[in-house]
Symmetry: C2
Subunit: 339 residues, 2 copies
């Protein structure tokens, strides 16, 4: 499916995702129950539902988010070369998103949406155990389209990383397909994250078809993997995934992750954390370390170790992106970042 | 100067301040040096300077701020009854500010500024030792005026709390005077914080005159106290302050605080913290506990202990307001909150 790339890539990772600002507030489990929210899930809401939920939420903090945006911010924090494609509006939250992703050195020049809805936002309620439950108003992010896909940019990235959440808006799904074609035409790798069990449930057949036809690398957690293959048999699900892609990483929360490649199954430990504050972005940061490692040609276990380190950093504080440069943390832990 | 209040107050504390959203980013000390910023200070910037600094800052998080706004949010987090007077614009940051302050139960109905500048923002660079250095673009907050002062609201609050930063914009300074008159006319107490050494330097004579004529309670840190009386002799400065007001609390960072009342000097210990992350809001949260304690008729040492507890909560995470309900923390520490 892939060709030998013509030249070294300018970027390690180029991500395509929903450009979103997070609003993070603490809550008790009863708050989720009372509003019919499934703990740990992401659901889409419209502008009115978003306003209604926000009015009921506790005071909180705002931080740039979006799953794949978090991942490339993590790649940038490791000192990697990353690019991002996603749609904001020309408003204050859009400025915040654009500032934060560029501030970690990520190339971001998708044209903002003029005259449409505001920048997307994700309302995140975090229970005392650190688990996050998300309600996303996509806003401008919903309008990402094939016109936003720059084939030259994608072709100059070792890995293009696609956010499973983008299966929800139809125009973005088309952009997604186009990005995969551009990557393979240039002999680059295509990675995808399954994002969420409900996304997998909504788009299971389409995701399976896309992975089979276009993905070289898959990121998932064990619940998403179970949903994709409709089985609770972890080993069987790994085998099925291994038959479809070159390599996959399946995260298992505090139990670490398993990297799947052909017949190989490499277990990677989670990195210890004093106290889990907010798990928002844990999977996204794992993906940052893992993808950067693959792009740099590291052994899969070393790539997974970078993922574990980045996930540990982000769950120890509020917000979905690193607050301490991951390049410094990797150095202090003696982890290699490759060339 | 004060009369006996006619009836119990509806609110424990009503604060008048600059309504501002904080943008908090980590930085190295060299970043401050390179831009001529005095570590630990607050300086005012215009919109262009704000945009220029923001472009150079690291990725960060946004959180509702404003010194007195943080304080009443803390009062609300303790379960106290609080109100706030301050000016936002009808924009996304204004929505965030309004949401967050109301979400902790604070009464806030100042009319937003129509057709003017955007909601004020404070760009905060935080060094690895947790110290914050602030550059504030006041925006809409700058337009607070006497028309925003509701004498009935102020008169129904046990303490009106005035933010020293409001000495900078002239219309707000007038609002400030009017609020003090309304409080005293209703037999309530007037509290003021000195806010910042540079504010004290800019408005020293005016602040001294205001405190002498109108303040019953003063909050300051030791550097601001030294600047106010132009002396490094801490005890002498406390004596001069004691001669001007009923009670004052002077914070001394990790050394705790000293409460000054007539000839009495009560030392209050700081509450231990595992790791200081971001000191933004430490003084504001101390003020929350101290003022709520005074409003509830606690002993000054017990009021100071509430202040120490609230300050410890806020410096252990990013952002200037409590993320854990202070009422729960006080309960777990066996601290009394009064009636």
């Amino acid at each position: 499916m892939t060709q030998t790339p013509a030249s070294p890539a300018r970027f390690d990772v180029c991500a395509v995702g929903n450009a979103i600002v997070d609003v993070l507030s603490p809550c008790e489990p009863a708050f989720l129950d009372g509003r019919g929210l499934t703990p740990g899930s992401m659901q889409l809401v419209d502008e009115a539902q978003s306003a209604d939920l926000y009015a009921a939420m506790a005071a909180g903090v705002e931080a740039s988010g979006g799953s794949a945006g978090n991942t490339v911010a993590g790649v940038g924090s490791f000192g990697g070369r990353a690019a991002y494609v996603g749609k904001v509006a020309p408003d204050q939250l859009g400025e915040v998103f654009s500032h934060d992703i560029r501030a970690v050195g990520v190339h971001f020049d998708t044209a903002p949406l003029e005259g449409g809805q505001g920048t997307g936002r994700c309302l995140i309620n975090v229970t005392p155990d650190g688990q996050r439950t998300m309600c996303t108003f996509l806003g401008a992010a919903n309008q990402l389209s094939v016109e936003d896909i720059d084939a030259a940019l994608i072709g100059d990235s070792a890995i293009v990383y696609l956010e499973g959440y983008l299966f929800d808006p139809a125009p973005a799904r088309a952009a997604f397909e186009q990005a995969a074609r551009a990557a393979h035409a240039a002999g680059r790798k295509v990675a995808i994250t399954l994002s969420d069990t409900f996304v997998v449930a909504r788009w299971r057949a389409e995701l399976l078809a896309f992975i089979e036809a276009s993905a070289d690398i898959v990121l998932a957690n064990e619940a998403e993997l179970a949903a994709l293959f409709e089985t609770e048999d972890f080993d069987a699900a790994c085998d099925r995934l291994a038959a479809m892609v070159e390599v996959a990483a399946v995260t298992r929360g505090a139990s670490g992750s398993v990297i799947v490649r052909g017949d190989e199954r490499a277990a990677v430990a989670a990195f210890p954390v004093d106290k889990v504050i907010d798990t928002t972005g844990a999977g996204d940061q794992y993906a940052a370390g893992f993808l950067l490692g693959l792009a740099r040609g590291l052994d899969v276990a070393d790539a997974g170790a970078l993922g574990s380190l980045a996930a540990a950093e982000v769950i120890a504080h509020w917000g979905p992106r690193p607050m301490t440069p991951l390049v410094d943390l990797a150095k202090s832990q003696g982890l290699t970042l490759g060339a």
